[in-house]
Amino acid sequence: MLHQQYNTAGRTLGILGIVLGGIALFMSFTCIGYLALIPSVSAIVLSILSLRQAREYNGNKNLGVAALVISIVATVIALIWLAVLGSATFWKNALEKKKGDNFKIELKADLNDEEDSSDDDIEFNEALKDLEEELGDLEGIVDSATSEKIIKAVKKAKKSVPKRIEVKITSESDSDTIVIETRRE
């Protein structure tokens, strides 16, 4: 069987292209994916030069082709990253608008007024205060996904507080307001 003999034309550039392409591919998946454009574009240039040298001086084109494929994939991912980054400000504004359109968490609590001073109720009152503070932190405007999480968390907390406390959650669809009401039974 006849084997075609190749020389080393395009070898160094091909190796550099593969290594830079590999680095760019890894980089493109990180938080600085857009910076992967620098090594990936360099790798494309190097692999094209490698292929040209290999063609002119009968070198092996495999390295150049592999480098070109890897660097093109890395460039595409880096460009997607750049597009995502470019629209970041737009998305920030859109998300804030979306949040405002969704739900408002309101807390109605009148626990302090009914505080009991007996020793048996000290622990009970502390639990009430803790719950009130926790719920107070939830007040504000949130998106629908967050509101669902809050409702789940409150339901879970309800199980752990003394049975005498009632946590009432009502969702008023007209006003898109979720009212979390706490009171002693």
Binding site: G14, C31, K92
Partner: protein, 139 residues
């Protein structure tokens, strides 16, 4: 030229080994729970929203220190990617050793490339899936 003494495969293996070692070294330098990494996410800086790649360095650091649950919390695809990096380090060292004994055939190279690409796809798939759902959610 000194590079002519080595085969293409050896040079590429060695170069990737250096890069992979750098990734591990970068992750090991910092302590678990550290937030002062020199590289910050540009998307988070602009939009104030964490991107799916956020927490990757912290995840690597936590996993390398043996805190796998914490690593998963920082970034749910970090542990698998770190596993890919570590297996690649072992593979590159092994292949360099085999190549030094002149036992690497074209079949071995093809097998190495195929398996590495396959594992790369598997390791990065959760991150890609997170990115796709992230972009869909924003749109």
């Amino acid at each position: 030229m000194i590079l002519n003494k080595y085969s293409n495969y050896q040079i590429i293996n060695f170069s990737f080994l250096v890069v992979l070692f750098f990734v591990v070294f970068y992750s090991l330098v910092f302590g678990v729970g550290n937030i002062d990494y020199p590289v910050s996410c540009a998307f988070k800086n602009i939009a104030d929203i964490e991107c799916p790649s956020c927490g990757m360095s912290r995840s690597f650091t936590a996993a390398l220190h043996g805190h796998f649950k914490l690593a998963y919390c920082y970034n749910n695809s970090g542990v698998l990617i770190l596993f890919f990096v570590l297996t690649q380090i072992v593979a590159r060292v092994f292949m360099l050793f085999i190549e030094s004994k002149k036992r690497v055939t074209s079949l071995v190279v093809k097998l190495d490339v195929t398996l590495s690409l396959l594992f790369f796809t598997v390791a990065f798939f959760p991150l890609v899936r997170n990115w796709i759902s992230f972009i869909n959610r924003l749109l």
